[in-house]
């Protein structure tokens, strides 16, 4: 049985295969009713808009259907049921389970108790492999990933999308530039792991010093709750804000990505520039998730 749990489980050729499949779905090169008799259970025990809707959309586009739990309050979890039991029960209803859960490792646990494939749609501060795949897909749409200079900006300590993406990029010979406020730097063990995988990782404090050397700038949200008070948050957040002025002199093909939602990291005026690709990135969630759903249920 094929589960999609962590980007660490996927080799380069598997990533490339899934990206190729996503491209086929994106260009309409598929049978529209491929999953006609299939049912996906979307178990979302944490808030999500884009991920949940894009999985539901992907399922519908393939002719399949989905059933969902949208909150802990509406589920048997409030009655004290374990996730393991929920998964065993839902395995009897659906052909695949898409799980978002606040605990790290929840999807791994689910895969051990499920009798149908499990796709991890984000587990706490842990993994979010479908997000990483759509990030890679968006980059690859514009240019080959190999050898690029990619900047990761924002909360690199707690940001799961940044960790997953960095791990995936380490398979592509990318040079990684990390740009994070003090205290929100990439955890040392992840940086070490990236370097052990042969990746060149360059740490920066200031986005201005590196932005002109980048092919991709991946911006993540700096969360207010990480700071002791509003003043220190605004102080840091403003110095990491992407504005049209900051982008003067950047490479023509620079692409700015963001997993969304954004909270002010990117000035809306940037949306009008050719560098802004984050809405296209969000749209790519559908073909990428079509590829994943089809792959586990075919």
């Amino acid at each position: 049985m094929y589960h999609i749990i962590s980007i660490r489980d996927l080799e380069r050729k598997e990533l490339d295969y899934l990206l190729d499949r996503a491209q086929e779905f994106d260009t309409g090169n598929y049978q529209p009713r491929m999953l006609e008799d299939k049912l996906a259970a979307l178990l979302f025990f944490e808030p999500s808009t884009r991920t949940r809707m894009s999985f539901a959309t992907a399922m519908a586009r393939l002719g399949g259907r989905s059933i969902s739990v949208d909150s802990v309050e509406a589920s048997s979890i409030v009655k004290g049921e374990t996730l393991a039991d929920t998964i065993r029960v839902v395995s009897g209803y659906a052909d695949a389970i898409v799980l978002r859960h606040p605990k790290e490792g929840a999807a791994r646990l689910a895969s051990e108790f499920a009798s149908v494939p499990v796709i991890n749609a984000g587990d706490g501060a842990g993994q979010h492999p479908s997000q990483t795949l759509l990030d890679l897909y968006t980059i690859r749409q514009s240019m080959p990933i190999k050898g690029l200079d990619v900047g990761l900006l924002g909360d690199l300590r707690y940001g799961r999308t940044a960790h997953s993406l960095a791990l995936a990029l380490s398979l592509y010979g990318v040079t990684l530039h990390t740009i994070a406020p003090g205290g929100l730097e990439m955890p040392a063990n992840i940086t070490l792991e990236l370097r052990e995988r042969g990746m060149e990782v360059v740490e920066h404090e200031d986005v201005e010093e590196v932005v002109r050397d980048l092919d991709v700038l991946y911006v993540t949200r700096i969360q207010r709750e990480r700071f002791p008070d509003s003043a220190s948050y605004y102080n840091v957040a403003s110095s990491y804000r992407i504005t049209p002025d900051l982008l003067a002199g950047v490479r023509d093909h620079l692409m700015i990505l963001h997993p969304l939602p954004r909270a002010g990291e990117i000035d809306p005026a940037v949306d009008q520039t050719p560098y802004a690709r984050y809405f296209e990135q969000a749209r790519n969630g559908v073909p990428v998730r079509m590829a994943l759903l089809h792959e586990v249920m075919k």
């Binding site: 996730l83 393991a84 605990k103 790290e104 490792g105 646990l109 051990e112 063990n189």
Partner: protein, 155 residues
């Protein structure tokens, strides 16, 4: 249990049946007892020597437990604290088995994941599982890496 030696110190006497754990890293004897679940309220007859002179290790600890033979899982736990330890199984005053400890590639149910957000710390029917890497213990559920103070996380 003990007898006087000629120089005036105390030497632990042999046991009839049970386990002798020798070459424990100096200072770890009490942690070894803790991970074996031996506390003041259990009934085992114990001898403990700490910071004993050792040719090989400089200083070492020794633990003797009467009428108890350690199982593999217990030996795995000791390996985490005292990788040089030697386990001697004693029957009728004779060493019937002598083995080193070896840290297994995967530790199941031995170490609690220090990440409070890890699913293995929730009320789920699953044991913590770590792969043993040169840089530390890697949680196979949440990817947390335990590098320091492994003893305090042993279940």
């Amino acid at each position: 249990m003990t007898r006087k030696d000629p120089s005036g110190g105390l030497i632990i006497s042999p046991i009839k049946n049970g386990t002798v754990i020798d070459h424990i890293t100096a200072g770890e004897a009490l942690n070894v007892l803790r991970i074996l679940g031996i506390t003041g309220s259990t009934r085992e007859c114990l001898s403990i020597a700490t910071n004993v002179k050792s040719k090989r290790m400089g200083r070492k600890d020794i633990v003797k437990i009467e009428n108890r033979e350690l199982c593999t899982e217990e030996v795995d736990r000791i390996a985490l604290l005292a990788p040089q330890a030697k386990i001697n199984i004693i029957r009728d005053f004779q060493v019937v088995e002598k083995k080193g400890v070896e840290i297994p590639k995967v530790l199941k149910g031995v170490v609690r994941c220090p990440n409070p957000g890890c699913i293995t710390n929730a009320n789920e029917p699953v044991e913590s599982t770590f792969e043993v890497l040169p840089k530390g213990l890697h949680c196979l559920y949440c990817d947390w890496l335990v590098k320091n103070d492994i003893a305090s996380h042993i279940i």
